[in-house]
Amino acid sequence: MLDIQNLRVTYGTGRLQVDAVKDVSFQVKKGAAYGLVGESGSGKSTVLRAICGLAPISGGRVLVDGTEVKTPRDQTFYRTVQMVFQDPYASLHPRHTVDRTLAEPLAIHGEKNAEERIAQALREVGLGPSFRFRYPHQLSGGQRQRIAIARALILRPKVLLLDEPTSALDASVQAEVLNLLDELRHKMGLTYILVSHDLAVVAHLCDKLLVMRHGEGVEETTAAALRHGTASNDYTQSLIHASSGYTREVLKPAAA
């Protein structure tokens, strides 16, 4: 479904040049969920943004369904790939009601029967019609994230890019959102790329994942391998270790 080949993203020029992503390659099969983990600034978000055209691709190729994407992206692309952002507080227009937010993509693509589709989208993400005319400030973080998911799904895309969809949420709410995502994927046969710094979250949703560091893919592994703690890479190992909570004994710090 998705094929990323030697992706390279460079921001800025001259002294300010940042190689945010260097030579990252991976493939995601149709209907699969793929994880990207790594510490802050390792280029996870940038990969997603590059795929959907929000970041400049300065090298490599991105293929969706076997065809290379065009720059700028065309309408079919937007109907195939959608994204959910990290911060539910920032990803909804503060002056638009849920209704307006959900109607916008339908209007852009000239879709009919908007009324029904909005109601349906809300149902799909487990929200009642009473949420329809609320403003974002009248919603909790988890509800906002659901709206964001509904907005991404309303055009019936095949691929969903999830950029830390739960990291701004409380643990209890996180569980709800993760459950929802899991359920939707199975129901609609979606393909996911999930970005997170939380190994447990990635392992929960995804089968395969790529560990990233400093813009490079360090290791591609599977959720199962993570659960068994079998990582070939030191860095992955230290991530696994850290995610199990604080320990008093001194661990060999990963080289910075």
């Binding site: 802050s40 409380d170 643990a171 569980a175 710094h197 929960h204 991530l239 696994i240 604080y246 320990t247």
Partner: protein, 278 residues
């Protein structure tokens, strides 16, 4: 454990807002010795406001009431502003959540540490400088001399948080309140920061209140844990007994986290019982 360092009884914080009155903290009581006390709870449960109320830093529309709020025998509720100021930063300190926002962007890190030190110790600038450098070293800063002259925006999050810790510990406080000191940091970095805190508590024997929403972390880091919900303490227990928690809220929080160890699907979610908040 002798006389407790901090005694809090029936602490209440409320905000009178246009939209009504918000009871942020509703009758929190606990005692703290020279130990690590964790406070956990979901967002908005009143963790931070509890910490701030102890320091007397409840933001303007808020009002604080308590049956007892005393630190080392000093009544914090009736203490003069002056006394409070000498306590603040001197004997009680607080490490805040996000170094990006809690360091003054237009002062160098060194200056800010010196300022904190000189506010409580009558020392020359040179002495203060030496002390600041020593502090930076104590928090495992690799090149203290360089970091000293940097501005907050020139350091990474981890370095900033360490600088913040150095700044707050420079006066050798007896009590440190750490309000989600690691939530803005990477897992690997946050481990380092925690380690530093841990060592300092161990070495200096100070009391630590560790505020976090991460149950897993608190249980592994602290001695004792308070679980807050909607402004009250719903459960207080030894950290190592967290798994055996009684309160359904605590249990729910524990269970709804995905773990590497077990693949539970769907994840259990929390069904809030309105009775918890009463």
């Amino acid at each position: 454990m002798t006389k407790p360092l901090l005694e809090v009884e029936d602490l209440r914080v409320r905000f009178h807002l246009r939209t009504g009155t918000v009871d942020a903290v509703r009758g929190v009581s606990f005692q703290l010795g020279r130990e690590r006390l964790g406070i956990v709870g979901e967002s908005g449960s009143g963790k931070s406001q509890t910490g701030r109320a102890i320091l007397g830093l409840t933001p303007p529309p808020g009002e604080v009431a308590a049956k007892k709020l005393s630190f080392d025998g000093i009544d914090l509720l009736t203490a003069s502003k002056r006394t409070l100021r000498t306590l603040r930063g001197g004997r009680i300190s607080m490490v805040m959540q996000d170094p990006k926002y809690s360091l003054n962007p237009v002062m160098t890190i060194g200056e800010q540490i010196i300022e904190a030190y000189q506010a409580h110790a009558k020392v020359s600038r040179a002495e203060a400088r030496d002390k600041a450098l020593a502090m930076l070293e104590a928090v495992k800063m690799r090149d203290p001399g360089r970091v000293f002259a940097l501005y907050p925006h020139e350091v990474s999050g981890g370095m900033g948080q360490r600088a913040m810790i150095a700044m707050m510990l420079v006066t050798d406080p007896d009590l440190l309140i750490a309000d989600e000191p690691t939530s803005a940091l990477d897992v690997t970095v946050s481990m380092e920061v925690l380690r530093i805190l841990d060592e300092l508590v161990a070495e200096r024997g100070m009391g630590l209140i560790f505020v976090s929403h991460d149950l897993k972390l608190v249980s592994s880091f602290c001695d004792r844990v308070l679980v807050m919900y909607a402004g009250r303490v719903v459960e207080e227990l030894e950290a190592k007994h967290l798994r055996e928690a009684q309160h359904p809220y605590t249990r729910g929080l524990m269970n709804c986290l995905p773990t590497l160890a077990a693949d539970v699907r769907p994840l259990p979610t929390l069904n809030r019982d309105p009775a918890w908040a009463l």
